[in-house]
Subunit: 128 residues, 2 copies
Amino acid sequence: MVKYSRQRECILRNLQSRKDHPTADMVYESVRCEEPNISLGTVYRNLSLLSETGQILKISTGNGPDHFDGFTHPHTHFICKRCGNVLDLEGFSATNPIDQASVHFDGRIDDYELKFFGSCAECLSIKK
Amino acid sequence: MVKYSRQRECILRNLQSRKDHPTADMVYESVRCEEPNISLGTVYRNLSLLSETGQILKISTGNGPDHFDGFTHPHTHFICKRCGNVLDLEGFSATNPIDQASVHFDGRIDDYELKFFGSCAECLSIKK
DNA sequence: ATTGATATCAGTAACTATTACTGATTTTGA
DNA sequence: TCAAAATCAGTAATAGTTACTGATATCAAT
């Protein structure tokens, strides 16, 4: 049984009100304005809980901390290999490939993830 | 400058000779037959090196340790959410979506990853 | 409204996966 | 053969996350 908690509410509202894709630590820093006594463990626990119930998305970048997204409508992400930042990819409509992938597969496919990697505009503008 | 090392050679051959997608620790256990004194740190360092040069693939599952693949021809992976195992998805030909994704994007997209999630046949056969 | 069961909390310790450090060894070009 | 430097084994340290603790907050049943 899941009970209401002020802290979880605050975390969810925070994520839904922003357009970036913060890490647990960034959410922690951000919600401390409203919830000065919240602990990082609480943030982690509630981010897990919220992503299990589908209210937010957890984005693993393959390098460094996970990121989270309050916008759960299916969309695609870009991960910058230089700065680790996560961005939305607009105007990209992938046709759902689960059915196609399921044809020759014994198990059950529930979900898929399409991610793009490269260098973001900001990183490209910095000489290297 | 990259010098030859017996240990790296052994790790690469090990990965290329198997069809599963082992973790660093599994590779470590496996190569210890041939290289009894190899250390886990050496395995990690060389797996990183080999995946940076594109000789193997690193597969992040989003939960638990990374997996590695000695078969580098582009193909798609399935990740079991129950046991964490990584399997190849045969007979799935995704058309390369990088061009389409790049149209409305400022940065540079170098790579993409399509992953499927669900329950593998073995896990489905176990009551839960 | 009060109570009791239990979910959640803050704070902290522990854990897992990975990386960095050390002095010894191996590789390789000269 | 030799010396510079890459790599090694072994180990310590780190980053990110999860688990534990006793205290507090929520909520259904009185």
